[in-house]
């Protein structure tokens, strides 16, 4: 009965995963959950066996260690001899007496993790599709490292990480404002810094230790058109150059450093309303950078992981609650704020006459 329930869940997840590939609108996304809604009982694996294997393996390993280290010598001799008689064949095993229990524990943990991952992986994929649909985004396929190189040729912002750079996720969106509309690409830029440190111990031997630090920058790229060669940096400089320029606002000076191709470019761009818009955006987003390149394209990047993704607060256990969650509009609030500000920058930099 238990096995059959787990098999049913496996079948359900497999079929839902297959159907997910064909989902291209909200109606088909909601229809995807129909088999889950029809499922009898909660969509939860019965993990009695994997837990028993894991805990049993750990307990037996503990028992063997206690026996081996003589901690059980206080037991009556008959009982101790009986225990030794039971475990003695284990010492004949080629990989040592611990090996069957280690194997038992590993299999138990693997079963638990794979089931958890199967369920969570599907929920994350559905949630990701829901976010794309709710925010009118279309996922684009790309070669992660080649795309990072392409972006790096266009913007200094991607000149980060001495070990590895990749665009882990890319999608296309469209913003329709009151006065302007524009297409943009939303991305997750992943870069890795490699650090090698050599230390010498008291005996004069040197040890080399290599560590890898992973970072993510999230952002949008779009064609701006009204200004070029301008960098507004709320985070570290990654090779951007230009003349240092400061607007009148003391608060803005605390938040950003401006490097412009010429003072005229900066003076024309930084109207008071623009300064105020950027100050407000800088308070909402972490480590905000804006780079306008020589082709008048804009690259806006931030460190907030919820800029391009929002974690799913529910699982498939209660399919009805999950469906209700999907039916609500989940906006990427920080992305919306950035797009609104970009629109305002366009409004303040265009010519009304």
């Amino acid at each position: 009965m238990t096995t059959s329930n787990n098999q049913k869940i496996d079948q359900l997840l497999r079929s839902m995963k297959q159907s997910l590939a064909g989902v291209d609108d909200e109606t088909s996304l909601y229809a995807l959950l129909q088999p889950a809604l029809n499922f009898h009982g909660p969509i939860r694996y019965n993990n009695r066996w994997p837990w028993s294997m894991t805990l049993g393996g750990l307990l037996l390993m503990l028992l063997l260690w206690l026996l081996d280290s003589g901690q059980l010598n206080a037991l009556p001799p008959e009982m101790l001899n009986g225990l030794w008689w039971l475990v003695r064949p284990l010492y004949q095993l080629p990989f040592g007496p611990w090996s069957p229990f280690v194997l038992l524990t590993v299999i138990g943990i693997w079963l638990l993790l794979s089931r958890y991952q199967r369920l969570k992986g599907l929920v994350d994929s559905i949630w990701h599709k829901n976010l794309l649909l709710d925010n009118q985004l279309q996922e684009l396929s790309c070669q992660p490292e080649a795309k990072a190189r392409e972006f790096e040729r266009r913007f200094f912002e991607f000149n980060r990480g001495n070990h590895k750079r990749s665009i882990d996720w890319l999608c296309q969106g469209h913003y329709q404002g009151e006065q302007h509309q524009f297409d943009y690409q939303l991305f997750d830029f992943h870069y890795v810094d490699k650090h090698t440190t050599t230390t010498t111990d008291s005996k004069g031997r040197s040890h080399t230790r290599t560590t890898y630090s992973h970072y993510h920058r999230y952002g949008v790229i779009m064609s701006f058109g009204f200004t070029r060669d301008l960098n507004i940096l709320g985070y570290s400089n990654s090779g951007q150059r230009g003349i240092k320029w400061e607007p009148a606002s003391l608060e803005f000076r605390k938040q950003f450093k401006v490097l412009a191709g010429s003072e005229m470019t900066a003076a024309k761009f930084f109207k008071p309303a623009v300064v105020e818009q950027l100050q407000q955006l800088g308070q909402k987003l972490r480590k905000l950078n804006l780079e306008f390149n020589s082709q008048a394209e804009l690259c806006l990047t931030v460190a907030d992981s919820d800029f391009a993704n929002v974690p799913c607060p529910l699982g498939l256990e209660d399919a009805q609650a999950f469906l209700s969650l999907l039916q609500q509009q989940t906006r990427l609030v920080k992305l919306d704020a950035a797009l609104h500000t970009i629109h305002q920058l366009l409004v303040y930099n265009d010519n009304n006459f």
Binding site: A248, S249, L250, P272, F353
Partner: protein, 189 residues
């Protein structure tokens, strides 16, 4: 010997602190003065729209004669503005004339709805909206700088450095007397 060294170090630290405080007061003062210049520069941007305003007003002058007079009054108040001295009263006067012009335009739109379809009028209204937003932002930036400057000369030990060396006085923020007249509440600063 060591106590003399400590005394010299303390004295040097005190002199350095006085220099840093003095320079920060001057820096804030200059930034505030520049913020005021930005307000005036934005206010003078209205000169850019005066020809279009006059053109629109001339088209409807038969029915809306007072609009041209308001535009003329705005032109003269803009000419009286100075970016060298912080004169919030002249700015308030120019802003008052601008709000009269906007009121005149709104009355013209109510009387002649076809104005809304007029391309020049529509561009003009967009420009006026942006200019007003920019002036609003410039004034807010100026007021925030004034606040930071005033705080910078009044907190201790800055107040001591200011009284002894820098000699700067509190600056007034800009407030819209027309808007504040609508409130019964008056803060007792």
């Amino acid at each position: 010997m060591s106590s003399l060294l400590v005394l010299v170090i303390l004295l040097a630290a005190a002199v350095l602190a006085v220099i840093v405080i003095h320079n920060s007061i001057i820096g804030r003062y200059n930034a505030t003065q520049r913020a005021w210049s930005d307000v005036i520069a934005q206010e003078r941007q209205k000169n850019k729209i005066l020809p279009s305003l006059e053109q629109v007003a001339a088209q409807y002058s038969e029915y809306e004669k007072s609009l041209l007079e308001k535009v003329t009054a705005l032109r003269s108040s803009l000419a009286a503005l100075s970016s060298d001295t912080i004169d919030t009263k002249s700015l308030a006067k120019a802003e008052g004339h601008m709000s009269e012009v906007v009121k005149g335009l709104n009355i013209a739109v109510e009387a002649y709805p076809e104005l809304k379809a007029n391309e020049l009028f529509s561009k003009l209204m967009h420009e006026i909206t942006e200019q007003q937003e920019n002036i609003g932002a410039a004034v807010r930036i100026f007021n925030r700088n004034v606040e930071l400057f005033n705080t910078g000369i009044e907190v201790f030990p800055n107040s001591m450095v200011n009284n002894m060396f820098t000699h700067k006085h509190r600056l007034d923020t800009f407030d819209d007397s027309e808007a504040s007249a609508g409130f019964e509440y008056k803060p007792n600063f």
